[in-house]
Protein backbone atom coordinates (compact mmCIF):
# COMPACT_ATOMS: atom_id res chain seq x y z
CA UNK A 1 0.00 0.00 0.00
CA UNK A 2 1.49 3.27 -1.15
CA UNK A 3 0.07 5.06 1.88
CA UNK A 4 1.93 2.98 4.39
CA UNK A 5 5.13 3.31 2.37
CA UNK A 6 5.09 7.08 2.52
CA UNK A 7 4.11 7.03 6.15
CA UNK A 8 7.01 4.76 6.98
CA UNK A 9 9.33 6.93 5.01
CA UNK A 10 8.32 10.04 6.92
CA UNK A 11 8.34 8.40 10.29
CA UNK A 12 12.03 7.74 9.71
CA UNK A 13 12.25 11.38 10.72
CA UNK A 14 11.13 10.43 14.20
CA UNK A 15 14.76 9.89 15.15
CA UNK A 16 15.37 13.60 14.56
CA UNK A 17 13.16 14.30 17.59
CA UNK A 18 15.15 13.43 20.69
CA UNK A 19 12.14 13.30 23.01
CA UNK A 20 10.97 10.03 21.49
CA UNK A 21 14.14 8.06 22.16
CA UNK A 22 14.56 9.72 25.55
CA UNK A 23 11.12 8.85 26.82
CA UNK A 24 10.87 5.50 25.08
CA UNK A 25 13.98 4.42 26.96
CA UNK A 26 11.86 4.20 30.10
CA UNK A 27 8.24 3.87 29.04
CA UNK A 28 5.97 3.54 26.01
CA UNK A 29 5.26 6.89 24.37
CA UNK A 30 2.67 7.56 21.69
CA UNK A 31 2.39 11.32 21.31
CA UNK A 32 -0.95 12.19 19.73
CA UNK A 33 -1.34 15.76 20.92
CA UNK A 34 0.49 17.83 18.30
CA UNK A 35 -2.57 19.99 17.75
CA UNK A 36 -1.94 21.31 21.28
CA UNK A 37 1.81 21.53 20.79
CA UNK A 38 4.32 19.71 18.60
CA UNK A 39 7.67 18.25 19.58
CA UNK A 40 10.96 19.72 18.32
CA UNK A 41 13.70 18.23 16.16
CA UNK A 42 17.23 18.37 17.55
CA UNK A 43 18.15 20.97 14.94
CA UNK A 44 15.75 23.48 16.49
CA UNK A 45 17.07 22.90 20.00
CA UNK A 46 20.65 23.05 18.76
CA UNK A 47 20.04 26.29 16.89
CA UNK A 48 18.81 27.95 20.06
CA UNK A 49 21.76 26.63 22.01
CA UNK A 50 24.12 27.97 19.39
CA UNK A 51 22.40 31.31 19.56
CA UNK A 52 22.80 31.55 23.33
CA UNK A 53 26.35 30.25 23.22
CA UNK A 54 27.65 32.40 20.38
CA UNK A 55 25.42 35.23 19.33
CA UNK A 56 23.21 36.58 22.08
CA UNK A 57 22.76 40.31 22.50
CA UNK A 58 19.70 42.49 22.44
CA UNK A 59 18.54 43.30 18.90
CA UNK A 60 18.24 46.62 17.09
CA UNK A 61 20.11 49.79 17.93
CA UNK A 62 23.20 47.93 19.16
CA UNK A 63 26.16 49.20 17.17
CA UNK A 64 28.59 46.47 18.15
CA UNK A 65 29.08 43.36 16.07
CA UNK A 66 27.35 40.90 18.38
CA UNK A 67 24.20 43.02 18.46
CA UNK A 68 24.29 43.22 14.67
CA UNK A 69 24.63 39.45 14.52
CA UNK A 70 21.65 38.91 16.83
CA UNK A 71 19.63 41.44 14.83
CA UNK A 72 20.59 39.66 11.62
CA UNK A 73 19.45 36.31 13.01
CA UNK A 74 16.17 37.78 14.18
CA UNK A 75 15.42 39.60 10.94
CA UNK A 76 16.40 36.57 8.85
CA UNK A 77 13.75 34.57 10.73
CA UNK A 78 11.19 37.23 9.89
CA UNK A 79 12.01 37.06 6.19
CA UNK A 80 12.01 33.28 6.21
CA UNK A 81 8.58 33.08 7.84
CA UNK A 82 7.27 35.63 5.35
CA UNK A 83 8.52 33.57 2.43
CA UNK A 84 7.22 30.37 4.01
CA UNK A 85 3.62 31.65 3.86
CA UNK A 86 4.00 33.46 0.54
CA UNK A 87 3.98 37.03 1.85
CA UNK A 88 4.70 39.52 -0.92
CA UNK A 89 6.71 41.76 1.42
CA UNK A 90 8.34 39.50 4.04
CA UNK A 91 10.44 42.32 5.51
CA UNK A 92 7.46 44.44 6.47
CA UNK A 93 4.50 42.12 6.78
CA UNK A 94 5.51 39.79 9.64
CA UNK A 95 5.04 40.95 13.23
CA UNK A 96 6.49 38.60 15.83
CA UNK A 97 4.30 38.01 18.88
CA UNK A 98 4.41 35.56 21.76
CA UNK A 99 1.80 33.20 20.27
CA UNK A 100 -1.16 33.11 17.90
CA UNK A 101 -3.40 34.46 20.63
CA UNK A 102 -1.41 37.66 20.95
CA UNK A 103 -1.40 37.95 17.15
CA UNK A 104 -5.20 37.82 17.13
CA UNK A 105 -5.51 40.30 20.00
CA UNK A 106 -3.15 42.60 18.12
CA UNK A 107 -5.18 42.60 14.93
CA UNK A 108 -8.50 42.82 16.79
CA UNK A 109 -7.40 45.88 18.77
CA UNK A 110 -5.19 47.44 16.11
CA UNK A 111 -7.55 47.05 13.18
CA UNK A 112 -10.84 46.79 15.06
CA UNK A 113 -10.42 50.22 16.61
CA UNK A 114 -9.94 51.68 13.13
CA UNK A 115 -12.69 49.86 11.26
CA UNK A 116 -15.42 49.30 13.83
CA UNK A 117 -18.03 51.49 15.48
CA UNK A 118 -21.12 50.66 17.54
CA UNK A 119 -23.07 50.02 14.31
CA UNK A 120 -20.59 47.59 12.80
CA UNK A 121 -20.92 43.85 12.41
CA UNK A 122 -18.13 41.34 12.82
CA UNK A 123 -18.72 37.90 11.34
CA UNK A 124 -17.11 34.91 13.05
CA UNK A 125 -17.90 31.19 13.06
CA UNK A 126 -19.19 28.91 15.76
CA UNK A 127 -16.12 26.75 15.41
CA UNK A 128 -13.57 29.39 16.38
CA UNK A 129 -10.99 28.80 19.09
CA UNK A 130 -11.38 31.13 22.10
CA UNK A 131 -8.39 33.03 20.74
CA UNK A 132 -10.55 34.20 17.82
CA UNK A 133 -13.62 34.85 19.98
CA UNK A 134 -12.67 36.44 23.30
CA UNK A 135 -10.54 39.29 21.85
CA UNK A 136 -13.54 40.37 19.77
CA UNK A 137 -15.74 40.18 22.86
CA UNK A 138 -13.31 42.34 24.82
CA UNK A 139 -13.31 44.96 22.07
CA UNK A 140 -17.06 44.69 21.79
CA UNK A 141 -17.36 45.68 25.46
CA UNK A 142 -15.34 48.79 24.61
CA UNK A 143 -16.94 49.75 21.28
CA UNK A 144 -20.31 48.01 21.26
CA UNK A 145 -20.53 46.45 17.75
CA UNK A 146 -22.49 43.32 16.84
CA UNK A 147 -20.95 39.86 16.47
CA UNK A 148 -22.59 37.29 14.20
CA UNK A 149 -21.64 33.66 13.87
CA UNK A 150 -21.67 31.31 10.91
CA UNK A 151 -23.01 27.97 12.16
CA UNK A 152 -21.78 24.52 11.13
CA UNK A 153 -23.70 21.39 10.19
CA UNK A 154 -23.70 17.82 11.50
CA UNK A 155 -20.62 17.05 9.41
CA UNK A 156 -18.79 20.00 10.95
CA UNK A 157 -18.91 22.08 7.76
CA UNK A 158 -19.76 25.76 7.75
CA UNK A 159 -23.32 26.58 6.68
CA UNK A 160 -23.00 29.36 4.13
CA UNK A 161 -26.59 29.81 2.95
CA UNK A 162 -26.93 33.43 3.94
CA UNK A 163 -23.25 34.26 3.58
CA UNK A 164 -23.69 37.20 1.26
CA UNK A 165 -26.40 38.80 3.36
CA UNK A 166 -24.17 38.50 6.43
CA UNK A 167 -21.11 39.81 4.57
CA UNK A 168 -23.15 42.72 3.35
CA UNK A 169 -23.60 43.83 6.98
CA UNK A 170 -20.08 42.97 8.12
CA UNK A 171 -16.82 44.92 8.24
CA UNK A 172 -14.57 42.05 9.27
CA UNK A 173 -14.71 38.28 8.82
CA UNK A 174 -12.73 36.20 11.31
CA UNK A 175 -12.37 32.53 10.43
CA UNK A 176 -10.10 29.65 11.29
CA UNK A 177 -8.42 27.92 8.37
CA UNK A 178 -8.78 24.61 10.21
CA UNK A 179 -10.78 23.70 13.30
CA UNK A 180 -8.73 22.44 16.21
CA UNK A 181 -11.62 20.23 17.34
CA UNK A 182 -13.40 19.01 14.22
CA UNK A 183 -10.41 19.09 11.90
CA UNK A 184 -12.60 20.89 9.35
CA UNK A 185 -10.72 22.69 6.58
CA UNK A 186 -12.70 25.81 5.84
CA UNK A 187 -13.05 27.07 2.22
CA UNK A 188 -11.04 30.18 3.00
CA UNK A 189 -10.09 31.17 -0.56
CA UNK A 190 -13.77 31.24 -1.53
CA UNK A 191 -14.76 33.03 1.69
CA UNK A 192 -12.09 35.68 1.13
CA UNK A 193 -13.22 36.28 -2.42
CA UNK A 194 -16.83 36.69 -1.37
CA UNK A 195 -15.80 38.85 1.60
CA UNK A 196 -13.72 41.15 -0.56
CA UNK A 197 -16.62 41.56 -2.96
CA UNK A 198 -18.41 43.16 0.00
CA UNK A 199 -15.38 45.15 1.13
CA UNK A 200 -14.95 42.92 4.18
CA UNK A 201 -11.47 42.41 5.65
CA UNK A 202 -10.58 38.77 6.36
CA UNK A 203 -8.69 37.76 9.51
CA UNK A 204 -7.54 34.14 9.29
CA UNK A 205 -6.54 31.95 12.21
CA UNK A 206 -3.74 29.78 10.84
CA UNK A 207 -2.64 28.20 14.13
CA UNK A 208 -3.68 24.69 13.05
CA UNK A 209 -3.43 24.98 9.28
CA UNK A 210 0.02 26.46 8.68
CA UNK A 211 1.91 23.65 10.48
CA UNK A 212 0.29 21.03 8.25
CA UNK A 213 -0.32 22.49 4.79
CA UNK A 214 1.67 24.47 2.27
CA UNK A 215 0.41 28.00 2.85
CA UNK A 216 0.25 30.83 0.36
CA UNK A 217 -1.52 33.88 1.74
CA UNK A 218 -2.02 35.21 -1.76
CA UNK A 219 -3.89 32.08 -2.81
CA UNK A 220 -5.88 32.02 0.41
CA UNK A 221 -6.79 35.65 -0.15
CA UNK A 222 -6.87 36.49 3.58
CA UNK A 223 -5.76 39.95 4.69
CA UNK A 224 -4.28 38.89 8.03
CA UNK A 225 -3.14 35.55 9.39
CA UNK A 226 -2.27 34.50 12.93
CA UNK A 227 0.38 31.80 13.33
CA UNK A 228 2.07 30.13 16.25
CA UNK A 229 5.53 28.57 16.45
CA UNK A 230 5.12 25.83 19.04
CA UNK A 231 2.66 23.85 16.90
CA UNK A 232 5.11 23.74 13.98
CA UNK A 233 8.29 22.35 15.57
CA UNK A 234 9.45 25.76 16.84
CA UNK A 235 10.05 26.84 20.44
CA UNK A 236 7.37 28.04 22.84
CA UNK A 237 7.14 31.79 23.35
CA UNK A 238 6.81 32.90 19.72
CA UNK A 239 4.01 33.48 17.24
CA UNK A 240 3.36 35.93 14.45
CA UNK A 241 0.81 38.05 12.72
CA UNK A 242 1.11 38.32 8.99
CA UNK A 243 -0.90 41.14 7.44
CA UNK A 244 -0.77 42.98 4.16
CA UNK A 245 1.47 46.01 4.48
CA UNK A 246 -1.43 48.38 3.80
CA UNK A 247 -3.39 46.79 6.64
CA UNK A 248 -0.47 47.06 9.06
CA UNK A 249 -0.01 50.67 8.01
CA UNK A 250 -3.52 51.60 9.06
CA UNK A 251 -3.52 49.58 12.30
CA UNK A 252 -3.12 51.45 15.58
CA UNK A 253 -0.19 50.48 17.76
CA UNK A 254 -1.15 47.97 20.45
CA UNK A 255 1.61 47.35 22.99
CA UNK A 256 3.59 50.50 23.77
CA UNK A 257 7.26 50.62 24.72
CA UNK A 258 10.78 50.43 23.36
CA UNK A 259 11.47 49.51 19.72
CA UNK A 260 8.00 50.46 18.48
CA UNK A 261 8.43 54.22 18.43
CA UNK A 262 10.01 56.79 16.20
CA UNK A 263 9.86 59.49 18.87
CA UNK A 264 8.62 59.95 22.43
CA UNK A 265 8.07 63.32 24.07
CA UNK A 266 6.51 64.03 27.43
CA UNK A 267 3.33 65.02 25.63
CA UNK A 268 3.04 62.04 23.30
CA UNK A 269 4.75 59.62 20.97
CA UNK A 270 5.10 58.90 17.27
CA UNK A 271 4.87 55.25 16.29
CA UNK A 272 7.68 53.72 14.26
CA UNK A 273 7.55 51.93 10.93
CA UNK A 274 5.96 48.58 10.23
CA UNK A 275 6.52 45.92 11.43
CA UNK A 276 8.51 47.37 14.36
CA UNK A 277 5.61 49.61 15.34
CA UNK A 278 3.94 46.47 16.74
CA UNK A 279 6.93 44.88 18.46
CA UNK A 280 7.30 46.59 21.82
CA UNK A 281 10.09 45.52 24.12
CA UNK A 282 12.74 42.87 23.74
CA UNK A 283 11.43 40.30 21.27
CA UNK A 284 11.76 36.50 21.45
CA UNK A 285 15.14 36.40 19.74
CA UNK A 286 16.34 32.88 20.47
CA UNK A 287 12.84 31.68 19.70
CA UNK A 288 12.94 33.36 16.29
CA UNK A 289 16.24 31.61 15.58
CA UNK A 290 14.59 28.31 16.55
CA UNK A 291 11.58 28.98 14.36
CA UNK A 292 13.86 29.72 11.41
CA UNK A 293 15.48 26.31 11.89
CA UNK A 294 12.06 24.68 12.18
CA UNK A 295 11.05 26.22 8.84
CA UNK A 296 14.20 24.83 7.25
CA UNK A 297 13.30 21.43 8.59
CA UNK A 298 9.70 21.60 7.37
CA UNK A 299 10.90 22.71 3.94
CA UNK A 300 13.37 19.89 3.84
CA UNK A 301 10.59 17.38 4.52
CA UNK A 302 8.15 19.21 2.25
CA UNK A 303 4.79 20.56 3.36
CA UNK A 304 2.93 18.53 0.75
CA UNK A 305 4.52 15.34 2.03
CA UNK A 306 3.41 16.30 5.52
CA UNK A 307 -0.19 16.94 4.43
CA UNK A 308 -0.25 13.59 2.59
CA UNK A 309 1.17 11.82 5.60
CA UNK A 310 -1.41 13.42 7.93
CA UNK A 311 -4.20 12.40 5.61
CA UNK A 312 -3.02 8.82 5.33
CA UNK A 313 -2.76 8.48 9.08
CA UNK A 314 -6.17 10.08 9.56
CA UNK A 315 -7.69 7.68 7.06
CA UNK A 316 -6.02 4.74 8.74
CA UNK A 317 -7.12 5.90 12.19
CA UNK A 318 -10.74 6.49 11.20
CA UNK A 319 -10.87 3.05 9.62
CA UNK A 320 -9.28 1.30 12.58
CA UNK A 321 -11.50 3.08 15.07
CA UNK A 322 -14.61 2.13 13.16
CA UNK A 323 -13.52 -1.44 12.50
CA UNK A 324 -12.32 -2.23 16.00
CA UNK A 325 -14.67 -0.05 18.06
CA UNK A 326 -17.68 0.17 15.70
CA UNK A 327 -20.61 1.88 17.39
CA UNK A 328 -18.78 2.27 20.66
CA UNK A 329 -17.02 5.31 19.20
CA UNK A 330 -18.29 8.48 17.61
CA UNK A 331 -15.92 10.61 15.54
CA UNK A 332 -16.84 14.28 15.22
CA UNK A 333 -16.27 16.43 12.15
CA UNK A 334 -16.19 15.66 8.43
CA UNK A 335 -16.23 11.95 7.56
CA UNK A 336 -14.62 12.82 4.21
CA UNK A 337 -10.88 12.99 4.89
CA UNK A 338 -10.27 15.46 2.07
CA UNK A 339 -12.28 17.98 4.07
CA UNK A 340 -10.28 17.68 7.26
CA UNK A 341 -6.82 17.82 8.74
CA UNK A 342 -5.18 15.31 11.05
CA UNK A 343 -7.21 16.10 14.16
CA UNK A 344 -9.74 13.54 15.45
CA UNK A 345 -12.15 14.39 18.24
CA UNK A 346 -14.22 11.48 19.46
CA UNK A 347 -16.51 10.14 22.14
CA UNK A 348 -16.15 6.67 23.61
CA UNK A 349 -19.56 5.38 24.62
CA UNK A 350 -20.32 6.23 28.25
CA UNK A 351 -16.72 6.90 29.16
CA UNK A 352 -15.96 10.44 30.16
CA UNK A 353 -13.18 12.04 28.03
CA UNK A 354 -11.10 12.66 31.16
CA UNK A 355 -11.25 9.00 31.95
CA UNK A 356 -10.43 8.10 28.38
CA UNK A 357 -7.34 10.29 28.46
CA UNK A 358 -6.29 8.96 31.85
CA UNK A 359 -6.56 5.31 30.86
CA UNK A 360 -4.82 6.03 27.55
CA UNK A 361 -2.01 7.67 29.48
CA UNK A 362 -1.50 4.41 31.37
CA UNK A 363 -0.73 2.93 27.95
CA UNK A 364 1.61 5.77 27.08
CA UNK A 365 -0.90 7.25 24.64
CA UNK A 366 -1.11 11.04 24.96
CA UNK A 367 -4.40 12.57 23.82
CA UNK A 368 -6.09 15.74 24.97
CA UNK A 369 -9.46 15.74 26.76
CA UNK A 370 -11.52 18.81 27.45
CA UNK A 371 -13.24 21.63 25.64
CA UNK A 372 -10.13 22.44 23.55
CA UNK A 373 -10.66 26.15 24.10
CA UNK A 374 -13.77 26.04 21.93
CA UNK A 375 -16.68 26.09 24.35
CA UNK A 376 -19.28 27.47 21.93
CA UNK A 377 -18.39 24.67 19.52
CA UNK A 378 -18.69 22.05 22.28
CA UNK A 379 -22.08 23.41 23.27
CA UNK A 380 -23.13 23.16 19.63
CA UNK A 381 -21.96 19.53 19.57
CA UNK A 382 -23.96 18.97 22.74
CA UNK A 383 -21.03 17.71 24.79
CA UNK A 384 -19.00 19.15 27.63
CA UNK A 385 -15.74 17.68 26.50
CA UNK A 386 -14.23 15.39 23.88
CA UNK A 387 -11.06 13.38 23.65
CA UNK A 388 -8.83 14.38 20.74
CA UNK A 389 -5.99 12.64 18.95
CA UNK A 390 -3.87 14.61 16.47
CA UNK A 391 -1.09 13.64 14.11
CA UNK A 392 2.13 15.12 12.81
CA UNK A 393 5.03 14.02 10.71
CA UNK A 394 6.65 11.89 13.43
CA UNK A 395 3.54 9.75 13.98
CA UNK A 396 2.85 6.46 12.23
CA UNK A 397 0.52 3.46 12.28
CA UNK A 398 2.00 2.21 15.53
CA UNK A 399 0.68 5.27 17.29
CA UNK A 400 -2.77 4.65 15.87
CA UNK A 401 -2.69 0.98 16.80
CA UNK A 402 -1.67 1.84 20.35
CA UNK A 403 -4.49 4.39 20.49
CA UNK A 404 -7.14 1.90 19.41
CA UNK A 405 -5.77 -0.83 21.73
CA UNK A 406 -5.92 1.59 24.64
CA UNK A 407 -9.43 2.73 23.71
CA UNK A 408 -10.57 -0.89 23.78
CA UNK A 409 -9.01 -1.26 27.21
CA UNK A 410 -10.72 1.91 28.47
CA UNK A 411 -14.05 0.67 27.19
CA UNK A 412 -13.47 -2.65 28.87
CA UNK A 413 -12.51 -1.07 32.16
CA UNK A 414 -15.60 1.05 32.41
CA UNK A 415 -18.06 -1.44 30.97
CA UNK A 416 -16.50 -4.68 32.24
Amino acid sequence: MAGVEITEQLSELRKDFPIFADIEATRPFYYLDSAASSQRPAVVIDTMNRYYRHSHANVHRGVYGLAEEATGIYEAARRHLGRFIGASDPVHEIVFTKNATEALNLVVQGLGRVLLTADSHVLLTEMEHHANLVPWMILQEQLGFTIEYLPFDAEGLLVLDDLDARLERASILGVTLMSNVLGTLNPVAMLSERAHAHGVVVVGDGAQFVPHFATDVRELGVDCLAITGHKMLAPTGIGALWAKAEILEQMLPFLGGGEMISDVRLDGFTAGEIPHKFEAGTPPIAEAAGWDAALDYLEMVGMDAISRHDRQLTTYAMRQMRERLDDRIKIFGPQDVTKRGGVLSFELADVHPHDVAQVLDQHGVCVRAGHHCAKPLMRELGVGATARASFYLYNDEHDVDALVDALLDAYQLFHG
Binding site: H352, H354, Q358, G370, H371, G384, L413, F414
Partner: protein, 152 residues
Amino acid sequence: MNDLDDLYREIILDHYKNPRNQGVLEGPTVHAEEGFNPLCGDEVKVYVQVEDGVVHDIKITGQGCSISRSSASLMSQAVKGQSLDEVKATVSRFKRMIAVEETEDEPEPVDLRVIGELAALQGVVKFPVRIKCATLAWNTLMLALDEESHSV
Protein backbone atom coordinates in the same frame (compact mmCIF):
# COMPACT_ATOMS: atom_id res chain seq x y z
CA MET B 1 0.49 -0.48 38.93
CA ASN B 2 0.84 -1.96 42.38
CA ASP B 3 -1.80 -3.67 44.50
CA LEU B 4 -2.77 -0.60 46.45
CA ASP B 5 -3.40 1.29 43.23
CA ASP B 6 -5.51 -1.60 42.06
CA LEU B 7 -7.52 -1.50 45.23
CA TYR B 8 -8.05 2.22 44.89
CA ARG B 9 -9.00 1.84 41.28
CA GLU B 10 -11.58 -0.72 42.32
CA ILE B 11 -13.08 1.61 44.90
CA ILE B 12 -13.25 4.47 42.40
CA LEU B 13 -14.80 2.32 39.71
CA ASP B 14 -17.26 0.84 42.16
CA HIS B 15 -18.44 4.27 43.29
CA TYR B 16 -18.46 5.52 39.69
CA LYS B 17 -20.64 2.69 38.45
CA ASN B 18 -22.79 2.45 41.57
CA PRO B 19 -22.80 5.90 43.06
CA ARG B 20 -24.23 5.99 46.60
CA ASN B 21 -26.88 8.44 47.72
CA GLN B 22 -28.08 9.34 44.25
CA GLY B 23 -31.23 11.35 43.92
CA VAL B 24 -32.92 14.45 45.18
CA LEU B 25 -34.21 15.63 48.55
CA GLU B 26 -37.13 17.89 49.20
CA GLY B 27 -38.51 19.69 52.16
CA PRO B 28 -38.08 22.81 54.20
CA THR B 29 -34.84 21.71 55.92
CA VAL B 30 -33.14 20.78 52.64
CA HIS B 31 -30.48 22.96 51.11
CA ALA B 32 -29.35 22.40 47.55
CA GLU B 33 -26.48 23.87 45.56
CA GLU B 34 -25.20 23.41 42.02
CA GLY B 35 -21.52 23.11 41.11
CA PHE B 36 -19.86 23.32 37.75
CA ASN B 37 -16.42 22.27 36.53
CA PRO B 38 -15.14 24.91 34.08
CA LEU B 39 -12.64 22.41 32.72
CA CYS B 40 -15.10 20.01 31.16
CA GLY B 41 -18.57 21.39 31.81
CA ASP B 42 -19.38 18.66 34.34
CA GLU B 43 -22.17 19.49 36.76
CA VAL B 44 -23.17 18.26 40.18
CA LYS B 45 -26.08 19.09 42.45
CA VAL B 46 -25.84 18.41 46.17
CA TYR B 47 -28.89 18.24 48.47
CA VAL B 48 -28.33 18.24 52.24
CA GLN B 49 -30.82 17.95 55.04
CA VAL B 50 -29.43 19.21 58.32
CA GLU B 51 -31.25 18.58 61.55
CA ASP B 52 -29.99 19.48 65.02
CA GLY B 53 -26.58 20.33 63.56
CA VAL B 54 -26.20 16.90 61.97
CA VAL B 55 -26.22 15.95 58.30
CA HIS B 56 -29.33 13.87 58.45
CA ASP B 57 -29.44 13.06 54.76
CA ILE B 58 -27.52 13.89 51.58
CA LYS B 59 -28.30 13.18 47.92
CA ILE B 60 -26.44 13.92 44.72
CA THR B 61 -27.32 14.24 41.03
CA GLY B 62 -25.25 15.22 38.02
CA GLN B 63 -22.84 13.84 35.47
CA GLY B 64 -19.08 13.72 35.40
CA CYS B 65 -15.98 11.65 35.05
CA SER B 66 -15.05 8.75 37.28
CA ILE B 67 -13.10 10.98 39.65
CA SER B 68 -15.81 13.56 40.14
CA ARG B 69 -18.62 11.02 40.47
CA SER B 70 -16.80 8.66 42.79
CA SER B 71 -15.56 11.58 44.86
CA ALA B 72 -19.14 12.79 45.26
CA SER B 73 -20.33 9.32 46.18
CA LEU B 74 -17.52 8.75 48.70
CA MET B 75 -18.18 12.16 50.16
CA SER B 76 -21.87 11.44 50.65
CA GLN B 77 -21.02 8.28 52.58
CA ALA B 78 -18.41 10.02 54.68
CA VAL B 79 -20.46 12.99 55.82
CA LYS B 80 -23.85 11.37 56.28
CA GLY B 81 -24.60 11.37 59.99
CA GLN B 82 -21.71 13.72 60.84
CA SER B 83 -22.16 16.88 62.84
CA LEU B 84 -21.40 20.10 61.03
CA ASP B 85 -18.08 20.36 62.83
CA GLU B 86 -17.20 16.82 61.87
CA VAL B 87 -18.10 17.60 58.25
CA LYS B 88 -15.77 20.57 58.32
CA ALA B 89 -12.97 18.40 59.65
CA THR B 90 -13.62 15.76 56.98
CA VAL B 91 -13.62 18.32 54.20
CA SER B 92 -10.43 19.86 55.46
CA ARG B 93 -8.73 16.45 55.81
CA PHE B 94 -9.80 15.54 52.30
CA LYS B 95 -8.58 18.81 50.85
CA ARG B 96 -5.28 18.51 52.59
CA MET B 97 -4.88 15.04 51.17
CA ILE B 98 -5.24 16.22 47.60
CA ALA B 99 -4.44 19.93 47.76
CA VAL B 100 -1.26 20.59 45.91
CA GLU B 101 -2.05 23.37 43.48
CA GLU B 102 -3.58 25.75 45.94
CA THR B 103 -0.76 26.11 48.42
CA GLU B 104 2.92 26.54 48.03
CA ASP B 105 3.75 23.71 50.38
CA GLU B 106 3.72 19.97 50.03
CA PRO B 107 0.40 18.48 51.08
CA GLU B 108 0.35 17.70 54.78
CA PRO B 109 0.51 13.99 55.57
CA VAL B 110 -2.94 12.69 56.37
CA ASP B 111 -3.68 9.66 58.50
CA LEU B 112 -5.17 7.26 55.97
CA ARG B 113 -6.85 5.23 58.69
CA VAL B 114 -8.87 8.25 59.68
CA ILE B 115 -9.87 9.12 56.17
CA GLY B 116 -11.02 5.61 55.28
CA GLU B 117 -12.21 4.80 51.77
CA LEU B 118 -11.62 8.44 50.76
CA ALA B 119 -7.96 7.51 50.57
CA ALA B 120 -8.80 5.95 47.23
CA LEU B 121 -8.72 9.44 45.79
CA GLN B 122 -5.26 10.21 47.10
CA GLY B 123 -3.71 9.38 43.73
CA VAL B 124 -5.27 12.52 42.32
CA VAL B 125 -2.44 14.56 43.85
CA LYS B 126 -0.33 13.34 40.97
CA PHE B 127 -2.76 14.84 38.47
CA PRO B 128 -3.30 18.47 39.45
CA VAL B 129 -5.64 19.00 36.51
CA ARG B 130 -8.06 16.51 37.99
CA ILE B 131 -8.09 18.02 41.45
CA LYS B 132 -10.92 20.18 40.22
CA CYS B 133 -12.86 17.02 39.37
CA ALA B 134 -12.20 15.58 42.82
CA THR B 135 -13.16 18.72 44.73
CA LEU B 136 -16.26 19.70 42.73
CA ALA B 137 -18.80 17.97 44.96
CA TRP B 138 -16.97 19.02 48.13
CA ASN B 139 -16.96 22.69 47.27
CA THR B 140 -20.61 22.43 46.33
CA LEU B 141 -21.42 20.79 49.66
CA MET B 142 -19.68 23.58 51.53
CA LEU B 143 -21.72 26.17 49.63
CA ALA B 144 -24.92 24.33 50.51
CA LEU B 145 -23.94 24.21 54.19
CA ASP B 146 -22.96 27.88 54.18
CA GLU B 147 -26.41 28.65 52.92
CA GLU B 148 -27.85 26.49 55.66
CA SER B 149 -25.87 28.26 58.37
CA HIS B 150 -27.00 31.65 57.04
CA SER B 151 -30.62 30.62 57.00
CA VAL B 152 -30.59 29.64 60.68
